[in-house]
């Protein structure tokens, strides 16, 4: 089993890609998809595996440079990482790689080299930088037949096959095969426009070694950093003086607040980078006179933290009201039972009782000023936002 290195995807795939299996990253034209194959290479190398990159759309040196851009040092794995150069010969440039496809437009030669690699190398992760480029050079049908053979051979020799494929307007038959029977797993990567959120997502279309999971995840490509799951907006709300700003600052990698006279008057804004996730956090003011602004800024949230002062049950009605104002009902939310360090703080169970909350709403005890409970709360919320598994 090798890990894809893509956050959450490994979880969805029950740990990663088993040996002998094939997986295709099936991308819509125009999305930043090549990074998927690269991130999988880096992840496999980091776990001590052997990797082969079949470079058919750029020279291997440029690809090495791209790894660097993402902050992934692959030079340390030099003896475990092999490039197959199927690009330099195309432009008539010399190549210094061990494996060279001297006629990249000849599928027989291409196939011979790939099959040699499959037979000679110990079980490896073999990544095709761009299967669509090979298809453009050699023709759709021939490449599909070659892929069938490669995947079968890989199964015999325990390799993992990973393909980057851009879904240019090929014949419908080809596209259906790519999305269907040709591979053990298909990860579709595309772009969405949902109102004002312009994003890229990936989803599992098929995986024959796991239960079917139809769930799409928004992502961003960061340099350095690679693929991070992206959550455009998480709202932090709650009554006056419950510790919302403190919570935002405790959780965020960087954050700013508009505070006057010790209270938030506009909003707190923070950015979190944590465990492969990238999220923007919006903290609302708590006092009633700011309700119009709260309403204004709470749109498009994907999840809500409701921060309450555990020593002050008289504010719980206001807390409930704020869920209503932010139109948060229906969104996943987590209650932060803050100020647990103070005398008279209610336990999460007591909060649930007083608040009259259903059993399935998570209540996390926290001391925001000491960063206690904040990351736990983040993980719980992220899990429900992403339909956690």
């Amino acid at each position: 089993m090798i890990k894809t290195g893509i956050p959450k995807l490994d979880e969805f795939l029950d740990g990663g890609i088993p040996k002998g299996k094939s997986l295709v990253y099936y991308m819509q034209p125009g999305v930043e998809g090549e990074v998927f194959g690269m991130q999988t290479i880096y992840s496999a190398l980091k776990d001590g595996g052997n990797c082969v990159l079949v470079a058919s759309s750029t020279i291997p040196d440029i690809t090495r440079g791209q790894f660097k851009e993402f902050g992934w040092d692959i030079n340390q794995f030099n003896n475990k990482f092999i490039s197959v150069d199927a690009y330099n010969p195309l432009i008539g440039a010399p190549s210094k790689e061990k494996y060279i496809v001297s006629n990249p437009d000849n599928i027989e030669e291409f196939s011979r080299i790939i099959v040699d690699i499959i037979k000679q190398l110990p079980p490896s992760t073999i990544v095709f930088g761009s299967l669509s480029t090979i298809m453009d050079l050699c023709g759709e049908r021939k490449v599909i037949e070659a892929v069938r053979i490669w995947n079968k051979m890989a199964m015999l020799y325990d390799h993992v096959m990973v393909y980057n494929f851009t879904a240019w307007p090929y014949s419908q038959e080809t596209l259906d095969l790519m999305k269907g029977e040709l591979f053990n797993a298909v990860i579709s990567i595309g772009g969405i426009v949902e109102r004002v959120i312009f994003g890229q997502y990936f989803e599992i279309l098929k995986s024959d070694w796991t239960k079917e999971i139809k769930r799409s995840m928004l992502f961003r490509v960061l340099r350095p950093g690679g693929i991070k799951l992206y959550i455009p907006k998480i709202l932090v709300t709650g009554p006056f003086d419950s510790g919302k700003s403190t919570f935002v600052h405790a959780l965020s990698t960087r954050a700013i607040s508009v505070d006057r006279l010790g209270t938030t008057i506009a909003l707190d804004h923070g950015h979190v980078d944590y465990k492969g996730f990238s999220a923007d956090i919006f903290g609302t003011p708590g006092q009633e006179r700011f309700d119009p602004i709260i309403r204004l800024l709470s749109g498009e949230s994907m999840g809500v933290f409701l921060v309450i002062d555990s020593t002050n049950p008289s504010d719980f009605t206001r807390a409930k009201q704020m869920l209503k104002i932010t139109m948060s009902y229906g969104l996943p939310y987590v209650i932060i039972a803050n100020k647990q360090d103070l005398d008279g703080a209610l336990t999460p169970e007591e909060v649930r009782e007083q608040f009259d909350l259903p059993e399935d709403v998570p209540i996390i005890p926290a001391v925001a000023k000491d960063k206690i409970g904040v990351y736990e709360a983040f993980e719980v919320l992220i899990d429900s936002v992403t339909g956690g598994i």
Binding site: G30, V193, V196, F198, K233, A266, L267
Partner: protein, 122 residues
Amino acid sequence: MPDTIDMIDKILTDMKNVGGVEACAAVSRDGLLIRAIVQNWQFAESFAAMSATMLGAAETATVELGKGIPHRVIVESGQGRLVAVGAGPRALLVVTVDSDTGLGLVLIELEKAAKKLKELLI
């Protein structure tokens, strides 16, 4: 998707090319950054959130007073100006302008750009 983004980028690039404009951004009404041309990306998201709050708060304030929806919010400081205008129900446009340039042309171009952005996001 790439088309809409390209078109928003075109609006922003045109805006950025107006004399005196230092940075500009398209922001959703609820404070999410759509696209921006800025020097420092790290701060773009906070900049977006704050701009949306400012314009939203200004609109709320004047409407409550019965003075109608403001055309724009202009913030002046020693180092420059910041102008935010609404661009339809979904978005707003924000620019920062250096302190030496007259605002006249900037405001005219900003108005045009906001209209285009509004059309794009309908």
